[in-house]
């Protein structure tokens, strides 16, 4: 089959939310938030159902892609009856820049720079999952200090991501002071990142073979200052939001998802945990050295917007606990694997050794070759399971790099969460899913 025929056959029609009688019955069930229903037996065509409301009584509206509460360029089409959401469909792709295709054109050394721009609120997690996948294909071990530095940095990144989420969530729910506090506290962590990696975001710090540089002098004091300040600030957020009647009314019982549906929709991260499933990859399938630190997996009971808020707020506290343990247990030693083919030599060696100069030149021009094979690695990012499926053909560039983006998958849970709620609640629900559009569209 040539391309032309295939296109003709696969020309699929509009991505948008269509009128009821033009929608496939199963797609209609998805949009109505009940994808698990009507699996067996005959399905009624929408035209045959004698609906109580006429077509002209409902209205299909767009929310986004320019709506401030959609955190970027998410567009949600909703069918409304009055102010009640009957069905909805997220429409994405407005930020699609083909990063997976770009990743095939970059070497493994350059790859971390590309992936770090996907989820721009937790760049270190993206770098980590890419590096872990590359290292699994290479079959190299990284020294313990590199492992613990990675843990320290990614946990701090989780704190900064959740703090920013609390800030924007507060803003969505009309608590602008929360936004100011959140951005203020996130800046503490970002300035430490700047000190350690040179950049506030998009660090390219975690690389295949270890990390780019050792932690700066006096890092213990900086990190301890962060973990001593943040829990106190979290208590302030707690005071500001948790008991506040307006916040409670807007979040409690809004956007409920059952654990069965969350699992069926492949939702991970705080959405899944808020519905009561204790699934955290750091605990369930430990990577790095998470089996050596003590922390709790936070779960909710109801699975509503409030639970997702509470899960994230308490995860900040747990992450601070992990960071403290990282400071205590940080082993001495090298911060990257001493593998001449993978990691560049120290700067001082280049002046005295011709061989070191050659390796340095080789690594930064053509990179290193990775044995043919395929691997899937997954880590727990602030938004859920972040996976990297890497295929190598034995060259210095990935043959295929696929990132399993948690926000992309979690967006599927929006129709069940929005169903039956008010359009004002949609703002709270979208915020509670915490989509990062850079990662959704890649």
């Amino acid at each position: 089959m040539n391309g032309e025929e295939l296109r003709a056959e696969t020309s699929a029609g509009l991505q948008e939310l269509l009128e009821r009688d033009e929608t496939d019955p199963v797609a209609l069930a998805i949009e109505e938030g009940s994808p698990l229903r009507l699996r067996e037996g005959p399905v009624l065509a929408p035209g045959d159902i004698d609906v109580e409301f006429g077509e002209d009584e409902t209205m299909i509206i767009n929310m986004g892609p320019q709506h401030p509460s959609t955190h970027g360029v998410l567009r949600i089409m909703m069918e409304l009856e009055g102010e009640t959401v009957l069905r909805s469909k997220p429409i994405i792709g407005y930020l699609h820049t083909g990063m997976e295709k770009t990743g095939e054109e970059l070497t493994y050394v350059q790859g971390a720079t590309n992936v770090t721009r996907m989820d721009y609120l937790s760049p270190l997690h993206n770098e980590l999952v890419f590096s872990l996948a590359t290292e699994a294909l290479l079959g190299i071990e990284i020294p313990p200090r590199a492992t613990w530095i990675r843990m320290l940095m990614t946990e701090l990144n989780r704190v900064s991501s959740h703090v920013l989420w609390t800030a924007t969530n507060g803003m969505d729910l009309a608590s602008t002071s929360m936004m100011i506090y959140g951005f203020r506290d996130r800046e503490m962590i970002l300035s430490f990142f700047e000190k350690a990696t040179g950049l506030r975001m998009n660090h390219n710090y975690i690389r295949p073979g270890g990390v780019a540089a050792d932690l700066p002098d006096g890092w213990e004091d900086d990190v301890m200052a962060i973990v001593e300040t943040i829990p106190g600030r979290v208590d302030e957020y707690d005071e500001l939001l948790t008991g506040q009647p307006i916040f409670k009314h807007r979040t409690e019982g809004v956007g409920v998802i059952s654990p069965e549906l969350a699992i069926a929709m492949s939702a991970t991260g705080p959405i899944l945990r808020a519905s009561g499933v204790a699934w955290d990859l750091r605990r369930a399938l430990p990577y790095l050295a998470y089996d050596e630190v003590d922390f709790d997996v936070i779960v909710g009971t109801v699975g509503d917007t409030f639970d997702r808020y509470a899960v994230r707020l308490n995860e900040i506290r747990e992450s601070c606990k992990i960071v403290r343990q990282c400071v205590e247990k940080m082993p001495p030693g090298d911060y990257r694997a001493q593998n001449k083919k993978v990691t560049p030599p120290p700067r001082a060696r280049i002046d005295e050794s011709m061989e070191a100069l050659i390796h340095h030149f080789k690594i930064f021009t053509s990179g290193f070759e990775v044995p043919a094979g395929e691997v899937y690695t997954a880590i727990e990012s602030p938004r859920g399971e972040l996976g990297c499926y890497l295929v190598s053909d034995g060259s210095n560039k990935p043959y295929r790099m696929h990132i399993r983006a948690p926000s992309f998958v979690n967006l599927q849970s929006l129709p069940p969460l929005l169903r039956g709620g008010l359009i004002a609640d949609a703002v709270a629900v979208i915020s509670s899913v915490d989509p990062v559009m850079g990662e959704v569209d890649r």
Partner: protein
């Protein structure tokens, strides 16, 4: 998977070709005919979540390492399933020929694959038979071609600007 734990193939009682990939990950090679059957058996055996579904275009890497019984085709659909109960992962790899790029949908077993299959259709042009909403997801509706295919070159899309000065 820790040592001493039953493999996914043993748990589900499926006799597909099992290989261990990099890092000891369990990989099942399934044919298109047995794809749904194996996925269903795995779901019954506790692999209740589909973590990921993606496609790979092996146009330029057809001689990849594969078990002997598997006939290499141009496309491959890769499905990652997770068992929350057994804390285990398994990966299914399905060979899809270029001449007939059709795979049955996993939607009825794992509704969470809806977006992922749409993405694989959009970027690779694989059709998922029975998918409720087989539309593009990342690219615009009227886009021609499937960008992640290896014969879809980067940087060859002519971009024209209406306001560009000078003769064209």
């Amino acid at each position: 998977m820790t040592t001493g734990q039953a493999s996914a193939a043993e748990l589900a009682g499926v006799g597909e070709i099992t290989v261990n990939g990099a890092g000891g990950q369990e990989v099942l090679h399934v044919t298109r005919e047995h794809y749904l059957e194996v996925a269903g058996a795995l779901r019954e055996a506790g692999f209740e979540m589909c973590a990921d579904l993606c496609a790979v275009d092996y146009l330029r890497h057809l001689e990849r390492p594969l078990p002997e019984a598997v006939r290499a085709e141009r496309f491959e659909v890769v499905v990652n399933l997770v068992s929350l109960e057994h804390r285990q992962r398994v990966r299914l790899r399905v060979q899809v020929p270029e001449s007939d790029p059709v795979v049955p949908t996993l939607f009825n077993l794992y509704p969470g694959t809806e977006n992922m299959e749409r993405e694989a259709f959009d970027l690779f042009g694989l059709c998922f038979e029975g998918h409720p909403d087989p539309t593009r997801i990342l690219m615009p509706d009227e886009w021609e071609g499937h960008p992640l295919r290896k014969d879809y070159a980067v940087g060859r899309v002519p971009v024209q600007f209406k306001q560009a000065p000078g003769p064209r």
